[in-house]
Amino acid sequence: MDKSLVRDLEIAAAKVRIGIIEGVHSAKAGHPGGSLSCADLLTYLYLHRLNVDPADPKMESRDRMVLSKGHAAPALYAVLALRGFFSMEEMKTLRKIDSRMQGHPDSLKIPGVDASTGSLGQGISAACGMAFSGKLSDESYKVYTLLGDGELQEGEVWEAAMFAAHYQLDNLVAVVDNNNMQIDGKIADVMSPYPIDQKFEAFGWHTITINGHDFNEMEKAFDDAERVVQRPTVIIMKTTKGKGVFYMENALEWHGKAPNDEEYEVAMKELTAHLAELEG
């Protein structure tokens, strides 16, 4: 991947992280940890990979992206804002009573959101339906879905995994945000989904494991997924929960809590300094 492109994506991701913190702080609620862990991936997809058009959000030929881990809505919204679907200013209305920025993604209210999600395990099924429909009418669009690693505990995920392999949905790529944590603790302690790659492999999927904060590895993995035929691909990305805000990194309490004013200042200082450094 071109170095300047990587730098552009890093700058974009830094802005997305600022948007996440702005949104969650303003809402006084939300999920910063799991939003920050997938901020790089969503930035990569929407600013580099996906065929989407902010001027025509419902364009029939668009690639679809279903945020199965719907609680990472702040990350998705910040990325959509950066891609031009709406203003980044709207992040400050997150979860507010008169805002369209719902706590979890709402496909009817928010331009660029392909599926209403939030109840875990359901997004991957909808993504399967979109990919299946694309195959039926010979469309060239691709379908992506992002799952949490804790989300893999939902049985529906594995029903969908069976379906995608059975119908050979090679136009579907699922990504697992493997940040190792869920609300009640480490995923391995709460209810281990490991080994994730072997489980998907056994279900008939092509599997790739990458560092979820490395754009070069993402590029390679998604290119690889495009070459796979007659099988869906899962990209298991190792990530750090809370990535980019030092006190949130790998800290369980930041799964679903908003920073107070003081914590907000600390986070913004770190994030803006990082952005300035990248831009400098």
């Binding site: 496909s107 209403s116 099924s125 399967c128 429909s133 029903e159 969908a160």
Partner: protein, 311 residues
């Protein structure tokens, strides 16, 4: 009158629908021989897809397909379509207002021998509580087929309820017209109104016949669309006949009877007696025997009407 199950109307209706909607996709969850989507599969093998015994995923897949603009039916038994997959129907289908049609067969107690685990008498209540969900419960084969065909031009999440049991066909296929949300006065009368839905319409008509021979003039109204319900026909009945008896093969909690009571209470308070499954689980047995046991037969409707008139 010839007898045929409304689920046969589902299968035949899908075939008719495919002729006007080439984008039709039918999903099933390993029950196609029972839900009768097998009829459609035979004619359109490239539009029928099995999702295996995984109803939750099937509903999500249906949502995804609908989001791309195709007309999709997801089929299973009422117990699994409305019960097991409830939350997926709510969040993945109804919340984003997707055009998914749920074909739920084997509803109610008349499932018979399979027993309580398969006799779903709560589905109407569950589906009624979901914002924007349309609920259609056809009375006979002709109405079932017409209801399915009507989906060609009816947008939005819809729950279609069909029965296992072969029941009398009383509608004429040549002349019958299905209109979503419109109740039908199948027999006029002025002493009392029997409002029935699904397989109970034929029983209500038989009951009205018996009552007539005893000098009681009962009106019979078929409510095939439970939501949105035909308020006008219900208020008219309340006003003109004062007393109402509702009959459904469903729990008396949250079904047709509850829906009728809601309307009557708001617009013209009067006596409504609800006949249905009284907050109990069913058990194995022949459908006809079970229906009799739970009072869902013409004979008992006659008794309940007479008692109601004495109130």
């Amino acid at each position: 009158m010839a007898n045929k199950a409304t689920r046969e109307g589902y299968g035949d209706g899908l075939c008719a629908l495919a002729k006007v909607r080439p984008d039709l996709v039918v999903l099933d969850a390993d029950l196609s021989a029972a839900t009768k989507t097998c009829i459609f599969k035979k004619e359109y093998p490239d539009r029928h897809f099995n999702c295996g015994i995984a109803e939750s995923n099937m509903m999500g897949v249906a949502a995804g397909i609908a989001s791309t603009g195709k007309l999709v039916f997801a089929s299973s038994f009422a117990m699994f379509a409305a019960g097991r997959a409830y939350e997926i129907v709510r969040n993945s289908i109804a919340y984003p207002k997707l055009n998914v049609k749920i074909g739920a067969t084997h509803a109610g107690i008349s499932v018979g021998e399979d027993g309580a685990t398969h006799q779903c008498c709560e589905d109407i209540a569950l589906m009624r509580a979901i914002p924007g969900m349309t609920i259609i419960n056809p009375a006979d084969y002709v109405e079932a087929k017409a209801a399915v065909l009507a989906m060609a031009e009816y947008e939005g999440p819809t729950y279609l309820r069909f029965g296992r049991l072969a029941v009398p066909i009383y509608n004429d296929e040549e002349t019958y017209k299905f209109e979503v949300g419109k109740g039908i006065t199948v027999r006029d009368g002025s002493d009392i109104t029997i409002i029935a839905t699904g397989l109970m319409v034929a029983e209500a008509m038989e009951a009205a016949e018996t009552l007539a021979s005893e000098g009681i003039n009962a009106r019979v109204v078929n409510i095939h669309t439970i939501k949105p319900i035909d308020r006008e026909i219900i208020v008219k009945a309340a006003r003109e006949t004062k007393k109402i008896v509702t009959v459904e093969e469903h729990s008396t909690i949250g079904g047709l009877g509850s829906a009728v009571c809601d309307v009557v209470l708001e617009e013209y308070p009067t006596t409504v007696v609800k006949l249905g499954i009284e907050d109990v689980f069913g058990h194995s047995g022949a459908a006809k025997d079970l229906l009799r046991e739970y009072g869902l037969c013409a004979e008992n409707i006659v008794n309940v009407v007479k008692k109601t008139l004495k109130k």
